[in-house]
Symmetry: C2
């Protein structure tokens, strides 16, 4: 069972890692100026999506009971509000640093987690609901966050000069 | 072990089903005319992305050894070629039907698969590589296809009138 369990964890984490690496490549290939633009006329800006992804990933820390959010101040402009709310944003340079900080902490924390911990419930499911829906565990969260990341990276790539799929 | 295995299959398949359902809602909410437009100036059209997703999902059938592709003719215009290649496309109406056909067959085939089959290699991994990388199984493919779908749906949603995230 331990082998099988570790295989599941590897599948889920490698999906997450792959999407995070792809996202980093896309963000690194875009200049700060490119990220200030809107992905399409009247739609979200690159900087908003970068901040949004940083805050959503940062919130995995309290959700998994791994610690406090590193940058709780990002929640208001990048999660509770839509783009162009008028709220001040950090610079792209700062957000790039926050992205690195959040992912470095997540990688370090994930590497310390025991296999069983991945199958435990996350902090937004009640013990009662978890009894009924045991798939609502941390691995499930990681897979959902991977898809959320992919969704927005399909938008951020539109800021690149070439028409990549 | 059987319980654990089935739990993981449920997690992976529920991730896939969720993304497919979200995609269907987005496609159904868009008119044929909206899908003929480009997601952003100079980028892919909605109809191209619909055809692209149909063919990529259709190819899961041979990849898993579950049967032949239903619509192999879509491969040339929607996978081997970029958008605006000049190759003829089916109508949006036809592609919507193909989407339904492919997903109906996938759902029926997936429901017949035994738990162990999800952990078997897919047809594009050699037996030798699978020995070394046992996580390259069918569940892994489903998770990667979910992320691919999310990536493109982040683009298709740009065709909607309101600025949804």
């Amino acid at each position: 069972m331990a082998d099988q369990q570790q295989l599941f964890i590897k599948i889920a984490l490698s999906t997450w890692d792959l999407q995070v690496k792809r996202a980093e490549k896309i963000f690194n290939d875009l200049s700060d100026e490119q990220l200030m633009a809107d992905i399409a006329p009247g739609k979200n800006s690159g900087i908003y999506l970068l901040g949004h992804l940083v805050v959503v990933h940062d919130m995995i820390l309290p959700l998994f009971g791994l610690g406090k959010q590193l940058y709780p101040d990002l929640q208001k402009p990048f999660l509770d509000s839509r783009d162009k709310s008028g709220l001040p944003f950090p610079t792209v340079k700062e957000l790039r640093q926050y992205w690195n900080d959040v992912h470095n902490v997540l990688t370090a924390q994930f590497s310390k987690m025991q296999p069983d911990e991945w199958f435990q419930k996350h902090n937004s499911v009640s013990a009662e609901d978890f009894m009924k829906e045991p798939h609502r565990n941390r691995l499930n969260v990681i897979l959902n966050r991977s898809n959320h990341l992919s969704y927005h990276m399909g938008q951020v790539i539109l800021l690149a000069k070439t028409n990549k799929e």
